[in-house]
Symmetry: C2
Subunit: 292 residues, 2 copies
Amino acid sequence: VLSLLQKTDIALSCWGSLPFPTELSEAPGCLKYCCHLTGQLKEIVPAPFFKKGFLVSNWGDAPAHGIAEGCMTLLLAVLKDLHVRIQVMRKGGWEIDKKNYGGSLERLEVGVYGLGAIGRRFVDMLRPFGCTIRIFDPYVVKLPEGCLRAENLKELFSLSQAVVIHVGLTPETTHSVNAQLLALLPDHGVIINTARAKIIDQEALFAELKKGRLRAGLDVTDPEPLPENHPARQFENLLITAHTIGDPWPTDGKPLKKLYRYHEIALDNIKRFLNHETPQFLMDEERYQRST
Amino acid sequence: VLSLLQKTDIALSCWGSLPFPTELSEAPGCLKYCCHLTGQLKEIVPAPFFKKGFLVSNWGDAPAHGIAEGCMTLLLAVLKDLHVRIQVMRKGGWEIDKKNYGGSLERLEVGVYGLGAIGRRFVDMLRPFGCTIRIFDPYVVKLPEGCLRAENLKELFSLSQAVVIHVGLTPETTHSVNAQLLALLPDHGVIINTARAKIIDQEALFAELKKGRLRAGLDVTDPEPLPENHPARQFENLLITAHTIGDPWPTDGKPLKKLYRYHEIALDNIKRFLNHETPQFLMDEERYQRST
């Protein structure tokens, strides 16, 4: 691997690539640019590469769409109790109990916790559905058009019927959605997490779900997978999607007919590099250290 | 009922109201305006009222939002195989088979059959998801911005990975989605119907679903409910939502905290009538005869 990479100008890597040998950062040969097609770099590109000033890029904002869309899917599916509907239908029933199930985004009070690249995509998708959009993100100065600001999480949860999580996992956000906040949501209140599991105090959420008071959609759980016999797997007011809600159209194992956005980002970056322009979505040491 | 209504200037009616007595159209007393809060009029307001020139209004475009939103819900849920995911999760599994399941609206080819009030709402909701939107509606001269036109249904089904139905049920559209058209959709192709069941040749669709070739979401079936032991209830590639996908937030049997749009339309219409202005969404005899 070392001698092959030393003969290479640009190294392409992806999920499941072998790690770059650490020696390469001291004896790079021709290697100038590591173009990583996907997101997480830590297992593939060791830290010394950043100290040595190699160009390293990843897929940047490419996955934002899929996660925002996954969040919209779970929000709509949970609000309309598809899980319950499917069970009723399979058992020979028909309508679900309107007193306890159902919902529409029209005029709903929706809270958004965190407004990074994914949160912004999500807000763009949500806007045509005619709900009130209230955002908590103390690091954002200017909110998107038509959105309201929540000054703190307590305000966000007090005023929302549904809350979606798009914040990153940091010491500050870990278990920030706790029992006290969840208790502020109204009965049938909805919580959606397509970010990181540890942002929510999962035990507190599961306790509310077990009581039947709230409804939830989780693309992320702690641990992943949940144990085979975990009781939350049977909750009818919980939809779990195994950290794969952003997955694309099935391939049947055949070659792709279309490029995905992250392929195009990599191709564009290689073109930029060859034209002596700066690739997009370059990682620096500080972001590398902060990243998952 | 007759003598009460004769003492009334404005009669309010709704789902489940007693029918207006036919004699009232000959001897109306004070009655001038029938303000029907919801949609279907035929069982409540008899045809002679239209001949006699009473004002009769209904909820107009109020339900368009709920149906368009329901269609978005089913499209996303079917594309991401939530039905399969729920079964896998309950049985102790985790991820679904990526070769056969999954999908994103990003760059998907979506076909829209019918562009009335509901179809237009749907297109507004779909646009931020970054798909190609292709519309078949020979009665629409100018398409919404950024949408492509299909000249006929064959073209719509040939070029789409997912097709949604927003056309009305007429002799022309009855069973217009038939086996030949369904065969044009690719493997894993998606079809969503939140309009009327008889627009699709249901036997042809169920045959495709049984083979596992397509995926579908149906808010409408023929008959409703489906028989308790109907095999389609167990199809993992079919989501059925019992003609209630547009239902609002659960009430727990308590009074509503907010008015719905159809309440506001009725209130606005009564205000208009009292101010000698024309109410919105008036029915005329021709539309009454054509309506469901």
